[in-house]
Symmetry: C2
Subunit: 357 residues, 2 copies
């Protein structure tokens, strides 16, 4: 029996995609070998690669003048590459400390450039994102780094701030689930392992004009311009992640594309927040309603001692990986693009049954 | 029909491994989801991960006091991480420019430390590796970087030089195919996509005492000590590569382990070099016999104009990906661990038939 998987990442993938990949796993399209045994410079893989590059820009609505790069190492390697590539001498960058991930991005960047916290969510126990006028951008700031969705805290940046400084966003946990105002950005990146594909890389969207001015005094793998010039084939790419991402993107188009996926995300989240808000205080959302994540819905039971019983009963009902992150406890339901509405409906029904005992 | 695949990498994987992975692809061991949808911190994946870490050291015969790390980005990212981690102020490192890969390693390292060419193969047209007394190690050298096997040139370092300075080796193209004298090394790395698994990471073997003294002033993904302290789970790992590598390593143990694989590699190479050497000059090996690679056998037809006909006829016979690298031309047969002896026998027979017309 296939379980309903609310894991925060890696997480549920579309079942038709898994079945298709399984069918062609040993002998890819009658080529006499698997895709994972082929040269990454041969025509069969090249088609898979180029299609994934095209699709990821198409589905996300990336404007002309932008490149998409496939880079291994997840968002975590990007915490290094962003300052290494963008911060020349004399330039600084501001970071929103909006949660665990925003803080990590800043801490990592601090080794490679002059960076500072432009807003600190600790003062608000990381329960909300800042309003634009709370963000302090210093003169000489090259970019403002934002985490569009904090996976652990369960909050998201609903409005991207327009403060006259280019934004760089880590969108790992709401990647390709929402339309974004590209004009405000110089660079957008995210690990693929939540919304897009099995773990193994980040996709980096970068404005082509930005690439003209990135740091060249770096080893090749660390250079955005090298990845861009080689169509992300400067070295052997992470074939499996790219291949699977291409299938997931095709599936997304079949669902109606980004607009449909975004609408579904809003509907799934609304269903669950309603169940929390209308539980007569049995379930509690700890985050500011204005910053509620659509992807990671964090909640508590008013009676925290019953949370373990809730998790066990949910698991019995086939609803798994609902435990909150170990650093914050409670319950977390992650509902990425591949989570069907029926999965959330099953959770809401279970929550109602559990509450009534 | 499954083809005999002589690709230089990614390349042939053991068929039983592919079939096993296919069978459990959609629902992993009855868990109700695929392995690629599970938390990397959950018990099911953790077992896969820990087994791969244990197996890779066991099969390679890595001594106590060494760590194995799984790091995304292939050997190419290691070209950056080695100097970033090991080269403190005042220290330098020597590199063997033994071919395309040795040169790339040096060029990349030059951005992150005081590095120099300790031997230049260009003077010998990259047809051989150096004898130990040809290598010039300067005072203050922290490590000597060697490429144990040059994939494109088709040469290998048969004896690792003992010059009183620790070695660092890129073993991407003969990884886990030969026993090595660990005492001479501080660090050994290689991309997995030739001998071990589908593309997506490097395995880095590093002496634990070395980790006590690596550079800490780096973003976390760039730090060896961070990967080691977290058992390569500091961030989401490349699950598919690790999972498949575990299966390939189990398969290697079933074949008799490293000694058996090394013996088979020697036998396969001997078969093919014999066919070249005993062809009355029809086939020619351009490399110094003392430096011949066991993994990548490079050869020419005396009549180079017939090479295209050779490749086409081989392909008709089900022997594929024999074209030499675009930078050197000719023929290249890559015979990594998963290439069965029968594949090489088929090639040798084909070569004999082709020669006789």
């Amino acid at each position: 029996m296939r379980l309903v998987n609310f894991c925060a990442g890696p997480c549920t993938l579309p079942l038709p995609v898994l079945k298709e990949a399984q069918a062609e796993f040993v002998d890819y399209h009658g080529e006499g070998m698997s895709l994972f045994e082929m040269s990454h410079r041969g025509p069969v893989y090249r088609e898979v690669h180029d299609r994934a590059l095209t699709l990821v820009k198409q589905v996300f609505g990336t404007p002309d003048g932008w490149e998409a790069l496939f880079v291994q190492g997840g968002a975590t390697l990007q915490f290094a590459l962003v300052p290494l590539n963008l911060l020349g001498r004399g330039a600084s960058a501001g970071y929103l400390e909006s949660g665990v991930w925003g803080k990590k991005a800043l801490a990592d960047a601090s080794h490679h450039g002059d960076v500072y916290a432009a807003w600190e969510g600790a003062a608000f126990d990381f329960r909300r994102m800042p309003a634009p006028d709370e963000i302090r951008v210093r003169p000489g700031t090259r970019y403002l780094h934002v985490t569009s969705n904090e996976t652990i805290g369960g909050i998201r940046l609903v409005q991207f701030p327009d403060l006259g400084v280019p934004l760089v966003a880590d969108m790992s946990s709401d990647f390709l689930s929402r339309a974004i105002p590209w004009d405000l950005f110089d660079l957008v990146y995210g690990g693929v392992q939540k919304n897009l594909a099995p773990a193994g890389m980040a996709v980096v969207f970068v404005r082509r004009s930005v690439l003209e001015d990135t740091n060249r005094d770096l080893a090749s793998y660390l250079r955005y311009d090298v990845h861009a010039a080689a169509d992300s084939l400067a070295n052997t790419p992470p074939v499996f992640s790219i291949y699977m991402m291409g299938k997931v993107l095709t599936w997304m188009l079949d669902q109606g594309g980004l607009a449909a996926v975004e609408k579904l995300a809003e509907e799934k989240a609304a269903l669950l927040y309603q169940a929390i808000d209308h539980s007569d205080g049995f379930y509690l959302s700890p985050v500011d309603p204005a910053s509620r994540s659509l992807m990671n819905v964090v909640f508590r039971l008013a009676d925290e001692e019953r949370e373990q019983a809730f998790l066990s009963a949910a698991e019995q009902a086939g609803l798994v990986n609902l435990k909150g992150h170990r650093s914050v406890g409670g319950i977390r339901a992650s509902m990425y693009n591949a989570m069907p509405r029926s999965g959330v409906e099953a959770l809401v029904e279970f929550m109602s049954d559990f509450r009534r005992g």
